[in-house]
Symmetry: C2
Subunit: 144 residues, 2 copies
């Protein structure tokens, strides 16, 4: 796996929205500034998040983004995988056909185990936890 900038930005965006609460609408500009995300890039990321059913997008004046679910219901894993696809550490775990050895390969098994462990770790934490305590909110968000 590789956490891309888009992935990192998506997390920041979701944590910011989670901090506001479910259904609270926030403008793209505000999110971009406070979470330090290039505004145009955020637009693309928001489209992905909306397509995945995580946020609602409202157009027009007073438009903006809002969370569709409760922050507790969204895991970090979910946000990450919306942006970068299902997590794998080695290609052969996701597409075993890419290596004819995969069935017998002990290295393959290690990558599978490591992957499962990683997804468990990321799946365990939700956006509520990540946004609720002071220490969970990136410092560039504090002045609100």
């Amino acid at each position: 796996m590789r956490l891309t900038r888009a992935g990192e930005y998506a997390i920041r965006c979701m944590v910011y929205l989670a901090h506001k609460g479910k259904g609270i609408q926030v403008s793209k500009q505000e999110i971009a500034e406070r979470a330090d995300i290039p505004a145009h890039f955020l637009a693309k990321i928001a489209q992905d998040l909306a397509r995945a059913g995580l946020i609602a997008i409202k157009q027009g004046p007073k438009g903006g983004y809002s969370m569709l679910k409760n922050p507790e219901e969204i895991s970090l894993l979910e946000v990450v995988e919306v942006m970068i696809g299902e997590i794998f550490l080695n290609d052969c775990v996701g597409r075993p056909r890419t290596c004819k050895a995969s069935k017998q390969c002990s290295v393959h098994k290690v990558w599978e185990e490591a992957r499962a462990q990683l997804r468990r770790t990321l799946g365990k934490v939700n956006l509520a936890e990540l946004s609720e305590s002071d220490s969970c909110i990136p410092v560039f968000l504090v002045h609100n």
Copy 2:
């Protein structure tokens, strides 16, 4: 982190050498063929492995590569990190200065934990285990 082709090839090369045993010399061509690695690419990878002290390279006729340590002494993590550098899942874990929030960030802590866990998992397995049992040897290696 992202396991590059170079990383995957390095693992195959080391597993193949481990299968032969410490100090046993094998030609570049043999490794390239049996482990399905582009020969020219293997040359570059071997240079990295040699620089890291994992293998010895002998030039000239009857030249080739050989393991310098016992397979039990080399972990999968070691091989991977020689090729792709120290493992991180998010940039901010390796270079906290890239994000001013890193000190206070709860997401950051999750990435740190996940990283430690991953490195532990890869550090636990060594090349002896990976090469010893039949099932550990990729099928393209069996005819030896």
